[in-house]
């Protein structure tokens, strides 16, 4: 085995080792999920050298440099203020969702005007209009980390696969009986999953556009889905009050997470894939053990429906957004509430962490987005300007740009 080179993964922090064995190039990852600005680099370095045979004494200075670089990337100044960079008015009807590619130089917006648009983040220029759907474009995604493809899920029951550079339509995925409202690529980009109001989810081959299987079992609409990082498992959250865990390869249901007393609004895997969270109309968020299918913890505190839930990049914390106008940050391990984000004057429909995990953004029906410190719960900034409620928001991978999509037909870019 011979170490060829190091690759850095900033969020969540990790060092990827590219090495040669039997004339074959392979990779392995050292996850450093606990890395913070307070980490003692020498102690960590000792541990890595001790545990990882590929990293010999001579590599010590190099790895030390990499660790300092990673730590620098975890630091995010709270004092950074965002300013309105551009208002994009190209959609003629309300926006639905928005999403960045990993690089952050492009993002996409879906709309009631049946199109998805691809935008240049740096200039605010409209690069492409993906036209062809016969109804609302509701769910959209890039095949991150590659970013060369976009998928769009529509109320017209189809999902379309596009070239994000040229706008060329590769495939139209037909088979769902009603609206497609959630979708995702697996992290490898080879499989697409779609969830529909027809109570089923489907898996498709990205390259050929062929349906691989239909995940049957839910008795009501599927509104949220998430792959784990290795891409071999999928969870689907449904209005039937349950979330199901599926084996991607066989299409078999492994577990049904039961316990919520209301519709599921959102579900997500953590980075390591051992846990997942579900938010529900029943005002609680539940944390589940993927292996056993058991509920580990029920997070209470909201006085109204939970509309969105999200892990931070490492999975150490999670945040819940509610119709009660507040969001709550919890420690995943202990279930303790770290902070309560109070300040919105309307329900919060979307929430996410920045990649560093230091900040949280919330999108609300009060027409504003708030940026919060995830540690203290302090409101750091209010993004004002939209003239109707905000449906979606996202951070780029660097955490220095935010996009917001609104019912007012505009998308806004905010920069540091």
């Amino acid at each position: 085995m011979k170490l060829k080179r190091f690759l850095l993964r900033y969020y969540p922090p990790g060092i990827i080792l590219e090495y040669e064995t039997n004339a074959e190039l392979k990779q392995k990852t050292i996850d450093l999920l606990d890395l913070t600005v307070e980490t003692d680099v020498e102690v960590l370095l000792n541990r890595i050298v001790r545990q990882e045979p590929l990293i010999t004494e001579s590599k010590r200075p190099h790895v030390r440099k990499l660790l300092y670089k990673l730590i620098e990337k975890q630091d995010c100044q709270e004092s950074q203020q965002f300013y309105l960079f551009k208002i994009l008015r190209a959609h003629i009807l309300p926006l639905t969702n928005c999403a960045f590619n990993k690089n952050g130089d492009k993002f996409i917006t879906g709309s009631y005007d049946r199109t998805c648009k691809v935008w240049n983040t740096l200039t605010g220029e409209e690069l492409l209009t993906l036209e062809g759907h016969k109804n609302v474009v509701y769910a959209i995604a890039f095949n991150n980390p590659y970013g060369d493809k976009v998928i769009t899920g529509s109320f017209d029951k189809t999902c379309k696969v596009w070239n994000s550079e040229t706008g060329e339509l590769y495939h139209t995925l037909r088979g769902h009986a009603t609206e497609i409202v959630c979708l995702s690529f697996n992290p490898q980009g080879s499989i697409i999953s779609t969830g529909s109001m027809d109570n089923t989810a489907k898996l498709w081959d990205t390259e050929t556009g062929v349906e691989l299987c239909t995940l049957i079992g839910h008795t009501a609409e599927i509104v949220s889905l998430s792959f784990n990082q290795t891409g071999d498992k999928l969870i689907t959250g449904s209005f039937d009050h349950t979330t199901k865990l599926w084996d991607v390869r066989s299409g078999r249901c492994i577990h049904t997470f039961q316990g919520h007393r209301g519709e599921i609004s959102s579900c997500q895997f953590d980075w390591e894939g051992g846990k997942c969270i579900t938010g529900s109309i029943d005002r609680t968020c539940k944390l589940w053990d993927v292996k056993s299918g058991q509920c580990i913890n029920t997070l209470r505190g909201h006085s109204d429906e939970i509309l969105d839930v999200s892990f931070n990049a490492t999975g150490s914390r999670l945040v819940t957004a509610s119709a009660d106008g507040t969001a709550r940050v919890y420690n995943t391990m202990t279930g303790a509430c770290v902070s309560i984000l109070v300040g919105h004057e309307g329900e919060i429909s979307k929430v996410c962490f920045n990649p560093q995990g230091t900040k949280i953004i919330t999108a609300s029906s009060d027409k504003t987005c708030h940026i919060w410190s995830s540690d203290t719960g302090e409101c750091l900034q209010i993004l004002e300007g939209h003239i109707d409620e905000i449906f979606s928001c996202a951070f780029n991978y660097e955490g220095d740009t935010i996009i917001t999509g609104s019912k007012d037909n505009t998308c806004r870019i905010w920069k540091c």
């Binding site: 003629i92 009807l93 309300p94 639905t96 969702n97 009631y112 005007d113 049946r114 109804n135 609302v136 509701y138 109320f155 609206e179 409202v181 109001m197 009501a220 609409e221 509104v223 209005f239 519709e263 609004s265 509309l307 969105d308 329900e347 429909s349 979307k350 029906s365 109707d388 409620e389 449906f391 979606s392 019912k407 007012d408 037909n409």
Partner: protein
């Protein structure tokens, strides 16, 4: 409201109805909707997208979708056709000049497959204005008596004062229940 609410309004329970409100721009759709929901109507702006309000009427929950009527966004009306229980078409009866345009749009809606057989309530709005055409005149100009494939009713009203709105809704609920 949020996107999730939009999804929850796509499905519906037994005692819920989905009402679609259409008509030319400035017909008074949003004002009528606000008035029905007992909201302030003084600052009503042209609708660029849509508004949804839930109105309880005689124990039934009416999810009313008010869709913008400007010419550029009329082609998108069909986004909202699925699962419609009743169509409300609002007409500005003082706008004589655009009565032809009104007729064209209404006839197109009546030809829509997804709206086949759906009960039609026509609000002959702006009766508070001096020059407003009365319901009989509108019926004649638009040839409404030719509609034979569904229940329909024309209701004179003023969205501004609220007069006639309740009467229209009563007809609507009665006729949804029949179908």
């Amino acid at each position: 409201m949020g996107l999730l609410t939009l999804l929850r309004k796509l499905k519906k329970s037994e005692k819920e109805f989905r009402i679609l409100v259409l008509g030319l721009d400035n017909a008074g759709k949003t004002t009528a909707l606000k008035k029905l929901a007992d909201e302030d109507i003084t600052h009503t702006m042209p609708t660029q997208g849509f508004n949804i309000k839930s109105v309880i009427h005689e124990g039934f929950k009416l999810n009313v979708w008010d869709i913008g009527g400007q010419k550029t966004i009329r082609p998108y009306w069909r986004n909202y056709f699925d699962q419609t229980d009743a169509l409300v078409f609002v007409i500005d009866c003082s706008d004589h000049r655009r009565m032809d345009e009104t007729g064209v749009e209404l006839n197109q809606l009546l030809d829509e497959e997804k709206l086949a057989g759906v009960p039609l309530l026509i609000f002959a709005n702006k009766q508070d204005l001096m020059n407003a055409m009365g319901p009989d005149e509108v019926t004649e100009v638009l040839g409404l008596t030719n509609i034979r494939d569904r229940a329909w009713h024309i209701q004179p009203c003023s969205a501004k004062t609220g007069e006639g709105l309740q009467g229209g809704m009563e007809w609507l609920v009665k006729n949804i229940n029949k179908s």
